[in-house]
């Protein structure tokens, strides 16, 4: 039973993520998008000869991504039925690494091909930075009190869980004394919310994107983007609270590992549903503002390595909106960005070494 649910949890994480990445990274109708494989879409690309060439690049990498998606669906479904838990978890971990790498390859190739074609067309980056005087520092959409209230509820639930575990509340009927199981679960959900809060603030204070000469269009576009992210963070915080409350109630009533696994599965399902909604809303905002007469003015394609990693020593921002996918990414040229990059590489290397070790030991 546990074996199946653990597989299901991985399935719920990976499959929707693969579909979301596929939709965001590999759109077919590139002419209506602000960017193609992380390269700014330009009027020159829409001219007949160029459009034909770019169409070819997009079609070929879209096809590769479709094959990847189908493989992902087949492999993840097959992994659900692996009987031995250790084999299953090792296989899932290897698959996650391979999936992340393989899914990014067509995108990176597409990015490099479009950049090369840009050079063929003689388009050189003007290195012009834009700022909207009317909107600088003024565009915020995060409901700070809403986020604080949601986190406060999370804190109360966490304190309740601790009080239950130290037997200061008469609600310990079905709990195993000394395990601190409810503290662990409530703490995990509360900690997740706590990590989300500063990210939400950073996104809300992030640089405004200039898509038009008209300040009102820029203001509306950036406000809409920030609101979508802000609402998503608050929704996730409430999902964390609901998960903490339900887990707490279950641990008070029955001590069942299967029940907590079901909760965890439903929790991940809820997160994926809200993430799907976030992607849908972001696409709607981009469609409304960027696909019309408005156009992206700033050409910083050269600062985006493979269209995914931002490296711009001339930019003092630590976090910038992602080119691939939704959310923010770091400027790897920023001092803090360098530290985060090194730590991330070490973490990935460490987990790879431990994975190889566990495979050898097994």
């Amino acid at each position: 039973m546990e074996n199946f649910f653990l597989g299901l949890i991985m399935y719920i994480c990976i499959v929707p993520a693969a579909v979301i990445l596929y939709v965001l990274l590999y759109p077919r109708n590139w002419k209506k998008k602000a960017r193609i494989f992380g390269v700014n879409n330009r009027p020159e690309f829409l001219e007949e000869m160029s459009a034909e060439h770019i169409d070819g690049i997009v079609r070929s990498h879209h096809r590769q991504a479709t094959v990847m998606l189908v493989c992902t669906l087949v492999i993840t479904t097959a992994l659900l039925f692996v009987p031995v838990l250790t084999v299953k978890m090792i296989a899932w971990t290897i698959f996650v690494y391979v999936f992340l790498l393989a899914f990014a390859v067509p995108y990176a190739l597409g990015n490099s091909e479009i950049k090369k074609y840009k050079k063929v067309l003689g388009i050189v980056s003007e290195k012009v930075l834009y700022a909207d005087l009317k909107n600088a520092g003024n565009i915020h959409a995060l409901n700070v009190s809403g986020l604080a209230a949601a986190n406060l509820v999370g804190l109360i639930l966490f304190v309740l869980a601790v009080l239950c575990d130290v037997e200061l509340l008469p609600l310990k009927a079905a709990m195993n004394p000394g395990t601190f199981l409810s503290t662990g679960f409530a703490g995990m959900f509360f900690f997740t919310s706590l990590v989300l809060a500063p990210i939400a603030v950073l996104i809300d204070r992030s640089k405004n994107q200039i898509i038009s000469e008209n300040s009102d269009i820029n203001a509306n576009y950036n406000r809409a983007r920030k609101k979508v992210f802000g609402d998503y963070t608050i929704a996730l915080t409430w999902v964390n609270n609901a998960a903490a409350l339900i887990t707490l109630l279950i641990l008070i009533r029955v001590r069942s590992e299967a029940a907590t696994l079901v909760i965890l599965t439903l929790y991940l399902l809820a997160i994926m549903l809200f993430t799907g909604k976030l992607v849908k809303d972001i696409i709607a905002v981009e469609k409304r503002y960027v696909n019309g007469e408005a156009k992206l003015l700033e050409d910083d394609d050269d600062h985006w390595i493979l269209g995914m990693f931002y490296y711009n020593p001339g930019d003092m921002h630590l976090n910038v909106p992602k080119r691939a996918g939704v959310g923010m990414t770091i400027n790897m040229a920023h001092p803090a960005g360098k530290a985060i990059t090194v730590i991330s590489i070490l973490v990935i290397l460490g987990s790879l070494i431990s994975l190889i070790g566990s495979v050898i030991l097994w």
């Binding site: 290195k127 930075l129 909207d132 005087l133 009317k134 600088a136 930019d315 003092m316 921002h317």
Partner: protein, 121 residues
């Protein structure tokens, strides 16, 4: 109003900011009394050092284009002093532009027309 900063330009960034704000005031894009972003907000927006923006604001303030105070930040002056003359520095700059135009074969009529257009902007 959109400010454009050219990273490859020979003109320092603080001067580019100063020049564009002056052009904004002249064209009416920035109205009298209009609030300007704080030094921190504008530097964050462009992704440059706060000192650069601060220097641009200090020049604008000393030239009488803007007012700054701790409480309200920076604002375009309600009434900008009109001397009715072109400064010596600007005369030199204009002389350079006229000379280059003459060397490039621009006629006086075309040059006048260009000035007429710019005056109307």
């Amino acid at each position: 109003m959109i400010i454009k900063i050219n990273e490859y330009s020979d003109v320092p960034i603080y001067l580019q900011i100063r020049n564009q704000i002056v052009m904004g005031i002249s064209s009416g894009e920035l109205e009298a009394g209009e609030q300007l972003p704080t030094v921190r907000a504008l530097s964050m927006e462009i992704g440059i050092n706060t000192m650069t923006v601060s220097k641009a604001y200090q020049i604008l303030k000393s030239e009488g284009f803007i007012l700054t105070d701790r409480k309200n930040g920076a604002r375009v002056r309600m009434q900008i002093h009109q001397s009715g003359t072109v400064s010596g520095e600007n005369k030199d700059e204009l002389r350079r532009i006229v000379s280059e135009a003459k060397i490039s074969g621009v006629t006086k009529e075309d040059f006048d027309k260009l000035i007429e257009e710019m005056w109307g902007e």
